[in-house]
């Protein structure tokens, strides 16, 4: 299994991809620094610390969430491509091998999202503690990052799910559009339509009020996620190459 995971990582981390990933990480760091409003000065921020601190956490999580989800969708699209599928011909000669191949692919999407959220998480912790006057709300940041991580792996799973039925790159625009649509929702209590409610039942998104809230219990999304993973692995393990 480890060797299958290594293969998927080597497939993913080409020079071009590594460069894009590094730029996105740096971009996220810069975004976090900008949202901290550090340019206003310590004295000013100290005077309005409650307002600015909440905005800082909210906007930082928003940046991380957008970058993380879109990145996760593209990673899933890259790993779910026909080129990657063809590696089955070189590496598998029975159903168990195939199972391991596709499990490894799903595991890599999860590890990748974990890598991104961990890196920005460490940055937020260090930056907030060392360079800003804000009080570090580690509990809030941790819950936020875990939520972002979950949403990322959920949307990457949706991409892999769609690609396992119709393997066309254009199809990954669907989860991106869905995610974008969900980001237009500002309040779960006053939703505009039944369609929004339906979408929210199947796709997770969190809002930040005084705490992080999801539309429905997280375990329902986790069950849907696990169901999709099982279907992805089953469909890919049974299809012809």
């Amino acid at each position: 299994m480890i060797n299958y995971i290594k293969l998927q990582f080597n497939y993913l981390f080409s020079k071009l991809f590594s460069l894009c990933f590094t730029l996105l990480i740096i971009g996220s760091f810069i975004g976090i620094i900008i949202t901290s409003n550090i340019d206003l000065g310590y004295n000013y921020l100290d005077a309005f610390i409650n307002e600015y601190q909440f905005e800082y956490y909210r906007e930082s999580l928003l940046i991380i969430e957008i970058v993380s989800v879109i990145l996760a969708i593209f990673v899933a699209a890259h790993l779910g491509s026909k080129n990657n599928d063809f590696l089955v011909c070189y590496t598998c000669n029975n159903n168990f091998d195939r199972l391991r191949f596709f499990c490894a692919r799903s595991i890599v999407t999860v590890i990748f999202s974990l890598l991104y959220t961990s890196l920005v998480g460490i940055f937020i912790l260090l930056y907030t503690n060392v360079l800003t006057p804000y009080n570090l709300d580690a509990d809030f940041v941790l819950k936020g990052l875990i939520s972002v991580f979950f949403i990322s792996i959920y949307f990457s799973c949706v991409s892999l799910f769609l690609l396992s039925f119709i393997n066309h790159f254009v199809l990954v625009s669907l989860p991106i559009v869905l995610f974008w649509y969900l980001k237009t929702i500002y309040d779960f209590k006053s939703l505009n339509s039944d369609f929004q409610e339906l979408i929210l039942k199947f796709f997770p998104i969190f809002l930040i009020e005084d705490k992080l809230i999801f539309y429905q219990d997280l375990y329902i999304y986790i069950l849907i996620y696990l169901g999709m993973q099982v279907i992805i692995i089953m469909v890919n393990s049974l299809k012809d190459f």
């Binding site: 060797n3 299958y4 290594k6 293969l7 080597n10 497939y11 080409s14 020079k15 071009l16 991809f17 026909k82 080129n83 990657n84 063809f86 590696l87 089955v88 011909c89 070189y90 590496t91 598998c92 000669n93 029975n94 159903n95 049974l238 012809d240 190459f241």
Partner: protein
Amino acid sequence: MNMWEISTPISINIKNLTKAYSKDKGIFDLSIELNSGDINLIVGKNGSGKSTLLKCIMRLVRYHGAIERRKFRIGYAPENYIMPDFMTVEEFLYNIGRIKGVSRYEIRESTIDFYRFFNLEKYRHKLIKTLSNGMKQKVNLIQALINEPKIIMLDEPLTALDFESEKKLISYLNKLAKTHLVIISTHNPNKFKTRSKRIIELENGTIK
């Protein structure tokens, strides 16, 4: 390059194999036994079912019927060798080798031999996307042979190879076929100049 030896005969027994893509495309009720000792050449027109037969043996497609084969190491080189463009030749072969259970040391040793055999030494650190079709075919063949397989299945292995490489490969496969089960799908069986060859001609998914 090691010419690994084994003593037990190797065979694949195919019974009533059917893999239908459409009414007249695929393989239909094919029964055959493939044995080591001879080089097994599967010939036939385009669409006669040569590649499908190899894919069935590799279990890359679902099929009806039975394919009995013992758990020997298998090497398979597909006809359409789509490889990860952004990996180098060495990275690709290393990863495939590791998945096939070959140790790091053995991979290093055998790839050095194969690079020399196929004149690929200069290209080992090149990205696969920069290689010519012939070079890609050579990488495709090396990945099939890297784990010293006892069953070797090559789908159109001579495609895109230059004359010299063709000759070397054929002579190598002829030697291997004495102790290994070698199955080759080809349009040019006459290029395999050996007495111990078995030609299996397919037509519309059955043996002619």
